[in-house]
Symmetry: C2
DNA sequence: AATATTGGAAAGTGATACTCTCCAAAAGTC
DNA sequence: GACTTTTGGAGAGTATCACTTTCCAATATT
């Protein structure tokens, strides 16, 4: 297909495609003569991936470029993919106090996680903790552990659901899940916060109470019985 | 204190303070004569809050302005604070398919959450689901529920830890926890993903490529027993 | 032959978040 | 009282980002 068709199928303006081409985000098409190039399905896919990362994932083009470089890195084995994708996904120029780094290291050790000691996420997390501290808010160990166990649950499910047959497929899905699952998780957290806030700070005036006020007993949201198929208690 | 002192205490350049003043992010100081104004502790606090939101929370100044407007909205009662803060925290120009909206509504109902039917987070979440769908990735119900219960755990702890004595204090903490807890949760999730990936995709040949091969702790060879609360399928 | 499309490059645009330069009034210093 | 410094305020300038526009000459299509 020519560029016009690629534009139609991907829903990205021709001018923008040319820009991505120039920026190296999209590989060049197969040149046919001096003024024509042919594009294919892989270009459509790539374009959709870029748009998803930018629009839904909120990544900058620079970040997207890094991520795509990892996606295309054929030599990397499966295991490295995630760490590499993360390195590409997050900023690198961070600093953190030893205090917070220590907390992060301790937490990882306590949770029994296997994480590369050089993972930039360690620093990123320590940095975030420092930022909180700086405005006078100390995130206590209990809450931190709550975060950690919630994060572990989510991560386990996500990683378990990753396909493992086609490498390219796996890498793309990994990137997608990591980058776009974030917004999903955060949106759910805010929704849950609103619900928790409603329970704690009393009756809404205009919330349309769906049912009886659930007589004082806060719903057992802490660990809801996973009503997975089969065994229900 | 004069502006120079405010700058020193908040670690924000005078030029930037003036800019925030102009942009209405920071209330004007008490004018003393035509060329002088006095600032106080509240200005230092406000400045630190702004920087935390911008630097650690990644918010744009426009978003920060919205958030601060809510922080200053004295008339709102505690319960509304969270929803209002969220409205200020997230983008508003979103669209979503009825399909995804339905999934979100169903999920909220199943979880038994009390959420304002008009909450922008509903649309935001539906939108994120659509984005995933658009790149050919369907986030299945199991994973969605995993996200939801993890989100609920986190949210419950966060809301439970909110102070309730001083209103101003509560609002500020709410904003801080919501905006800065996100990055923390996401960083932990990525760390946990790396760990889960290590378990699933087997032993790395070289765990820390950038640094020296640190002969130390080669992670379990062979099939490492997933030593975390099961969920690996 | 006339019209349309293409790849490529350069320049322009609009938003964001500052940063710099000026200024005259006021405050502090000698 | 002369001199220096600081201040508030306003405007212009800067850098980055992510495009979008304009232009071109070389093809393709009709």
């Amino acid at each position: 297909m020519w560029i016009a068709e690629l534009s139609r199928q991907s829903d990205v303006p021709v001018a923008t495609i040319k820009y991505y081409l120039r920026e190296g985000l999209l590989p060049a098409g197969e040149a046919v003569g001096a003024t024509r190039a042919r594009y294919d399905e892989t270009h459509v896919r790539r374009l959709r991936l870029i748009r998803a990362l930018v629009e839904a994932g909120g990544l900058s083009l620079a970040r997207v470029r890094n991520v795509l470089a990892e996606v295309d890195e054929e030599t990397r084995d499966m295991h490295d993919v995630l760490g590499a994708a993360h390195g590409a996904l997050i900023p690198t120029d961070l600093s953190a106090t030893d205090e917070s780094r220590g907390r992060v290291d301790d937490l990882i050790a306590e949770e029994g996680w296997q994480v590369d000691p050089g993972s930039p996420d360690r620093v990123l997390l320590a940095n975030a903790l420092d930022a909180l501290e700086k405005v006078g808010y100390h995130l206590d160990d209990d809450l931190l552990k709550t975060y950690a166990s919630a994060a572990a649950q989510v991560a386990d499910s996500e990683v378990a659901g990753l396909p493992s047959d086609d490498r390219q497929q796996t890498v793309e899905t990994t990137v997608l899940v990591t980058a776009l699952g974030g917004p999903v998780l955060l949106a759910l957290r805010r929704l849950a916060q609103q619900s928790a806030s409603a329970s704690r700070f009393g009756m809404p005036k205009r919330l349309a109470p769906p049912s009886a006020p659930r007589g004082g007993q806060p719903p057992p949201r802490g660990a809801p019985p996973p009503r997975r198929r089969g065994r229900s208690r």
